[in-house]
Every structure is written in structure tokens, then in C-alpha cells.
């Protein structure tokens, strides 16, 4: 009998505010340990939190982007537990009444359709500091720079039925958050971390006992961890055992998970309303204003690229991956409006490919949209062949010269003059009498050979269309 996998995800996402959630300290990443702290985020006696309203706005924006309900009154609670990197001994979070409830994210399915995955809630909370144990003997070090950095926790419904769906959801969410500009969402810096709740059941049965994979920050590890966990659970049940509700930690080196703590050992967080913060009230007008400032979202952008520029869904998808890529593409189209599809091809296949090879971001691209448009113009007016243009682009990656300068210097300007091409064709025919004979004897396939020879002889500058046409003519004899 088959098994059904049930997955729910909790994503902790650092909001990219300039200052922390409840004090004025900087949130800049990578500073010397404990240099971005103050009495508030150090949990000193008598210190009180003051809410960063920018964090509130960013959370609301995220909620609106997933079509969720915004609670005009939400509440903060204290989540109590002891850990050295948690200065107050409690985390300020939202438990009973989060600011965002009930939204969804659509992911593409294999059959070209969409699947709607529910988002239960998004709440605001503060991050803890960092404990460091490695390489230390008998002591631990604590860096509280991260203490108090604002987070949103995005909790999904248990709607995913495979690791692939979970990853699709996460990628969609990750992309959305980057688009909204509410978080750097840099997974390596821990700005986008995921807990996965996983269980298995026979189709139609109630939910099985779930385990929670904690704190994963790579799509690859998340998929591995879920796949591993699904197999582990199925094996336990098929062997007649029972899955134990517990938190587990993914060991990416050993590619296996291990138990962190069981339900019996689970924390009782003793949540209660945070008395230092009054209920958070936002007006419908404020929500509407945030909504009005909502940037174009990836789905809308994809759609627009397809209809407005006639792009294939693949190209539209590639070019709407990030707000930066989309903006770059649009500026390329603005500079070369004649052929948005050509812009898409050259950007998606040629430029991004080359950048990928040299390990650079689009923002670091040596070729600007304007310079690339200069090259596309020459393709458009038949001054240069597509093949030669690739060589030009290679050269442009390594110099600041314009496409025209490079074309000139390399003598790559396309030759469309039939007289000049006829001269080359005749040279090629003279050099290959056997093949001429063969062609005339009915070997049509030799046409390709002649085109190649002519292009080679012209160092790629001959216009392939004219070459084809003249070859047919002259080979007739």
C-alpha cells in the first residue's frame, strides 16, 4: 500500500530593518561580536522594548502579498525559556493573536497547473543571539549582535504532499520575500531558515505522528532532510513501530537526522501577554497605504512579460526570478525596443550564462543593459550574424568597448553584398570540385557543407541568408 507524506513548514525570516525590533541598535550583519548591543537587547534590569514600526509595515506587506487577513489589533506575548543567548530569558513573540492570518501561496504543478498551499499565520518576533561552542574548551562564547533583530515567522498549513512541493513552496516564498524587499532572505546568513514538520499516513487516514526538523537553511538540505525523514518514518511503521513526536536536527555532513528532544522533554514556553507592550493597533488606512505601495509580484510580472513582450513561459520565468533581473531586462528592452524576445534570449541564455560561469551577480555584470542593447541593434540591422555576436559579447565581457568598436576591430561586420559573397563562394567551389560534383549529382545534404565552408572563409561575417540563397543559385551551375 502506498504512503502519503504530509508536510507543514515554519519559516523564520529576518526583516531587513535598519534597527532592531525593540531598540535602536543596528542590524548590520558581520560586525564584531557584541558591538551592536544596548541595555535593551542585552536584557539589562529595568529596560523596556519599544516596537519598530518599520518591521510591522514589512510584515503587513508580506501578509498582503499572500492574500492574508491583517489583524488590525494584534498582541505580543512572552515565550519563556532559558538559554544564554536569550538575554531576557524570554522571547517577545506573537502567540494568541498574530498580525497576519490565513493566506496562501500557489505553486506550479508538473501538469502545468497550480496547487494552492495555505499559510496559517505570520507573526512578528525577535531573534536570539548566537552561541559559539566550536573550537572552545570548557567555555562557550555568546554574540548578542543578533539579539532583538526582527523576524517574521511564516507558518504554513500541513498542505505539502512531497519534498518537491515543500521546496516549491519555499522557493516561491523566498522569491516573494525578495521581491517585496522585506528581507535579504540570504539563507547562508540565516536570514531565511526553515523548520519542517513531517508525518506519513495511509491515504484517507488521519494525520500521523509528526516530527520537526529544526533550523535548516538550504533548499538542498531541506529536501534531503524531508526525504530522509519520510523513509525513516515509513520504515518504523512498516516494522510495526510507532513514530515518536520529537524535534530532530539535520546533520548535513552525515546526511542523516538525529533526535534533539522528545515531546516529554519539550519546552513549556509558558506564553503570556507581554505587559511591556500595549496591543498593536494599525488602522485600515495604514494597511491600505501599504497595499498601495505593493511592488509588482513575481506572478504578475511573469504574466506581463508573456503578454506584453510575447515571451515564452520559460523566459518569462527566468527573467522574473528577482526584482533585479526583471528591472535589468526591462531596461534592456527600453534600450532595444525593437525585439523584446531577442532581449530575452540574449539576456537569459547568453549574458546570465556568462555571468554564471565567472561567478558574478547581475549587479556586477561587466556589460550594462545599454551596451548589450548596442550589440542587439547590430543583430537587428543585420550588421552582424548571431554567431559573430556571441564572440563580440565574449569580448565585451572583458573590455569596456562598445559592440560597434569590437565589431570594427575584429572585422566582424556582416557581409550581405551578393557580389562579395559570390567571390567567396566561387573560391570555395574551386577548392572543392568533388563536392560540387556530388551536389549536382543529387546529394542535397552537401548544402550544409558549403554553407559552413563559406561562413568559415568569411570568418563568420557573411550573412547566412544571402549565403544560402547565392549558393543555391551558383551551385546549379
Amino acid at each position: 500500500m502506498s504512503w502519503e507524506v504530509v508536510i507543514g513548514l515554519e519559516v523564520h525570516c529576518q526583516l531587513n530593518t535598519a534597527t532592531k525590533a525593540f531598540c535602536g541598535c543596528s542590524t548590520k550583519f558581520g560586525a564584531e561580536p557584541n558591538t551592536q548591543t544596548c541595555p535593551v537587547c542585552l536584557g539589562m534590569p529595568g529596560q523596556l522594548p519599544v516596537l519598530n514600526t518599520v518591521a510591522v509595515d514589512k510584515t503587513i506587506l508580506t501578509g498582503l502579498a499572500i492574500n492574508a487577513h491583517i489583524n488590525l489589533e494584534s498582541k505580543f506575548d512572552r515565550k519563556n525559556y532559558f538559554y544564554p543567548d536569550l538575554p531576557k530569558g524570554y522571547q517577545i513573540s506573537q502567540f494568541a493573536v498574530p498580525i497576519v492570518e490565513g493566506g496562501y501561496i500557489d505553486i506550479p504543478t508538473k501538469d502545468g497547473g497550480e496547487k494552492r498551499l495555505g499559510v496559517t499565520r505570520i507573526h512578528m518576533e525577535e531573534d536570539a543571539g548566537k552561541s559559539m561552542h566550536e573550537g572552545l574548551d570548557a567555555v562557550s562564547h555568546i554574540d548578542l549582535n543578533r539579539s532583538g533583530v526582527p523576524l517574521m515567522e511564516i507558518v504554513s498549513e500541513p498542505d505539502m504532499r512531497s519534498a518537491d512541493e515543500a521546496i516549491a513552496y519555499l522557493k516561491q516564498l523566498h522569491q516573494l520575500i525578495r521581491f517585496l524587499g522585506v528581507s535579504g532572505a540570504d539563507m547562508e546568513k540565516g536570514q531565511f531558515r526553515c523548520d519542517a514538520n513531517v508525518s506519513v499516513r495511509r491515504p484517507g487516514e488521519p494525520f500521523g505522528t509528526r516530527t520537526e526538523m529544526k533550523n535548516m537553511n538550504s533548499f538542498r538540505f531541506i529536501k534531503q532532510a524531508i526525504d530522509f525523514e519520510v523513509l525513516r518514518q515509513i520504515e518504523i511503521i512498516e516494522d510495526g513501530g510507532a513514530v515518536v513526536q520529537e524535534s530532530r536536527l539535520w546533520d548535513s555532513v552525515k546526511s542523516e537526522s538525529r533526535s534533539m528532544r522528545s515531546k516529554e522533554e519539550a519546552h513549556d514556553y509558558r506564553y503570556f501577554p507581554e505587559p511591556d507592550l500595549p496591543p498593536l493597533r494599525v488602522s485600515q488606512q495604514e494597511v491600505d497605504a501599504i497595499k498601495a505601495g505593493m511592488p509588482e509580484l513575481p506572478g504578475q510580472l511573469r504574466q506581463r512579460f508573456e503578454t506584453e513582450f510575447g515571451l515564452s513561459s520559460y523566459d518569462a520565468d527566468v527573467l522574473s526570478q528577482t526584482r533585479e533581473i526583471a528591472a535589468w531586462y526591462e531596461s534592456l528592452v527600453a534600450a532595444h525596443p525593437a525585439d523584446p524576445k531577442r532581449c530575452a534570449n540574449w539576456m537569459a541564455n547568453e549574458l546570465l550564462g556568462r555571468l554564471n560561469e565567472i561567478g558574478k551577480d547581475l549587479s556586477e555584470s561587466p556589460v550594462s543593459a545599454l551596451r548589450l542593447a548596442g550589440l542587439l541593434e547590430r543583430i537587428g540591422d543585420n550588421s552582424i550574424s548571431g554567431k559573430a555576436a556571441k564572440d563580440v559579447l565574449d569580448a565585451m565581457m572583458e573590455s569596456d568597448d562598445s559592440a560597434d568598436t569590437i565589431i570594427e576591430a575584429k572585422g566582424l561586420k556582416q557581409v550581405s553584398d551578393s557580389g562579395a559573397i559570390d567571390v567567396i563562394i566561387k573560391q570555395v567551389m574551386d577548392a572543392n570540385p568533388g563536392q560540387v560534383e556530388g551536389y549536382r549529382g543529387g546529394k542535397d545534404k552537401l548544402m550544409g557543407f558549403f554553407v559552413g565552408q563559406v561562413m568559415k572563409a568569411s570568418r563568420g561575417t557573411a550573412n547566412p541568408g544571402v549565403v544560402n540563397q547565392r549558393l543555391k543559385e551558383l551551385l546549379k551551375g
Binding site: N80, Y90, F272, D276
Partner: protein, 489 residues
Amino acid sequence: MPFSSLSDIQNRLNSGKTTAVEVATLYLERIAAFNDELNAFVHIDPAHVLAQAEASDKYRSEHEARPLEGLPIAVKDIFCTQDGPTQCCSNILKDFHAPYDAHVITKLKEAGAVLVGKTNMDEFAMGSSNETSAFGPCRNPWDTDCIPGGSSGGSAAAVAAALTPAALGTDTGGSIRQPAAVTGITGLKPTYGRVSRRGIIAFASSLDQAGPMARSVKDAAMITAAISGHDSADATSVADAPNIDWLAACEAQNMKGLRIGRPKEYFVDGMDAEVRASVEAALKKCEELGATIVDISLPNTEHAVAAYYVIAPSEASANLSRYDSVRFGHRCEEPDDLLDMYTRSRDEGFGSEVKRRILTGAFALSSGYYDAYYLKAQQVRTLVQQDFIQAFEQVDVIATPTSPIPAFKLGEKTDDPLTMYLSDIFTIAVNLAGLPGLSQPCGFANNLPVGLQWIGPAWREDAILSAAAAYEGATDWSMKAPAAFGGES
């Protein structure tokens, strides 16, 4: 002069009859003479006090005097100050030095006050007798075998014995009013949100409020005027709190037209007969001054203490988690591991009453008990608030005894926390409702002071200050001072 009011001293300073240095010297001498007996101060730095006084005299010579120019004010050890240690009378904060001033300390400095030192208190303000202090009990100047009340016992004893003309306390369930009552002075707990809590070591955040302990109603008003006001760094400090003309409120000569509520739940069997008689006599006096006494009921009063002893410990259990020995405060010797460090440091650092309340609070919040305890207590809190709202539809102010009993003997109730908790039976509801409350002297029981409590609607400190000022003007209870310390009893 030692038993002069703050405003009398202010007049003498203003008229040039004395200087801030002379005033400070006088009280420093009295502290030197009497503090060993009372243990009212736990930290005093005479040189620093004199330096502030000198600076004040200099300021006065060059500028117009500020509202509290040169006036000595002591503060409870719960207020963080950059100068000297702030220990909350707990071993867990032994030798802790705060790198910041509490908002009210900044306000006092800005008003020109001379900060005298840190006064004794129950550890983390948890207690009604000042006996839980890590620095030993403070004693009542009227009878040094008796407690001075708590938790602001040190501030109360210091003012009552004129070791300082005024002091700041904090009041979570009566910690200003009850000690003021049993030491025969005046104490005001302002409306919750009137005074910033920033830099005040938190006990129960939704209840804590700082206020003055002084020798007269006007003195209390002067100090409250200086320390109150919005603080953008305390989200519970109210930005648009109605303003009050604090000093004008104290000009009241009579109570004509004033409707005073007399809640039957505050005059009950089991309370001290002489306390009751003193308060009844005070109400009679109010009638003579033109007031109407209206019998009212605050029916949920009987549940207030129970609700308080769930809510306050619950909040405290979280507020005191930061004392984990990781960043500051007491750490045990040679911990085996993290858990050992936590448990032993906290076991050594906290006293038994603090531990009792942390455990009570953690239990009340724990999974499976939250609804029955914390949630239920919050519901009671709402009912208590509603009681007062309804009562203030009928009356302008409410008058009650502050404490059902006068000061008791040291050690008398230390083994019986429940009886101890009942000393706050008449003050707790005011904190649950966030209302202003004032205690002023109104007589004696067994030769120990009795307090009259005034309760006003939210933000109407002026109403209770007026009533209290009129009563004070018509009686001489506020003039009484303990003979053993040079006063006139």
C-alpha cells in the same frame, strides 16, 4: 528643620535662609546618627551628595531655581542610577552598577533635586514588611521592634524619621501606600502610565508604578509633577495623559460638594478596631469639611488579592529570568555545566520569598494551568476595574483604610506568607485597576500610625490630592513624628 516639609525647605532655600549644602549636611548627619538603628539606607555616598548640593547652590546662583532645586530626595534601591550600586536589595544583583539612570532619576536631576542615596526594600519589591531584603530588615521609627511596611520600607522609614525630607518608592500592590500608612507619612501611587517605568527594575510590569513618599500632600504633588510625563522609551507610558495642575490641586481648603465613596468591603470584621475607628473618624471629619459620604460596594474586592497573587508572580517569573548569571549579577563558583550554573546561581542569589513567587508564577503560566489561573485572574482583574468604573459614576473619590492593621512586629508574619499577603488587602485592587491611590496619616492604633487611603478615577490624581490636602489642613496628623528621632508625637 529635619521634620520640615519639602516645600518649607524650598521656601527657606528660595529666601536665602539656607543653602542646599546646609540642608544636605543636616540630613547626612541624621543618616549617620540614625541609620544603624533603622537600616533605612543601603547605600549612601556623602561626598557625592554634597557635590550635588554644591552644584545646586552654584546653579541657583546663576540661574532661576528649578522645581526641586537643592531638595534632598532618597530613592528606593529599585531605581537604576549611574551613580552607586543598584541592587534591588537582592544578592543576585550584589554590586550591580547600572550604566544608565531610570527615567524618573533623570527627571529628578533635571528638576535640580539632590539624590541622597538608595533605600532599603523587600527583595525585588516582593514583600509587605521589608523583611525579605538581602541587606536585613528596616525598622519602623515609631517602634523599632516593628516593621516599616513594604516593599518601600526604607523610603518610608527614612522620611518618617527625617533622614530625608522625601523619597521615591514603587507600588505594585501597595508598596508605597502601605509603608506610608504604617510609618505615618504621605505616599502617592500615580495612575498606571503616568510615570515612566524605564530603568525601574521590574517586578510586575502591568502593575508597577513609581511615586513619592513625603511629609505632606503638597510635597507628594511637587515630586509627582517632576517625575511624571510621557517617555517614548516606555510603551506603557501614556502619551496623551490628561495634564494636572499639581500644586493648584493641593490648595483645597474644604470638601464642599465632594462625594466620597465608602466601600463596605473595606470595612470588615477582622481589621484592627482602632484602625477602623481612626478611618471612621476621618470620614466624619470629611463630612464636617462639606463632603457627602456615600455607601458603595466594590463587590469583586474579595477576589482581588487572589488575582493579584497570580498575575504579579506570573509577570515576575518572566521578569526575573534575566538574572541568569550570564551577563551580569551573581554567578556561582565553578559551575559544572550550564544547568548547574543557572540553578546554583539563582538558588544562591534569590531569597526565599522571591523564589516562592517565581515558582508560583511559573506554575500559574504552565501548560494545563494557564486557563485556570492566569486567565481567570485576568478576568477578575477586568471585574475589579469595572467595579471602580461603576463606583465613580456615583462618587468623586473613594476613601478606605490603607492597611487593615498597623505595623506588626518583625518576624511576626515571616513564617506565614498568606497572612503577610493580607496586609495588602486594601491596596491591591487599585493596582489591578491602574488607578491613582494616596495614603495619608489619620490617627494612631496602639500608638502606631494609621493610614487613610484615597482612590481616584484614572488620571484624576488632582481629585485625591485635593481631598487629602483639605483633610491634612483640617487635622494635625501629618505633623506627628516619632519622638525617638527628635520629632513631636
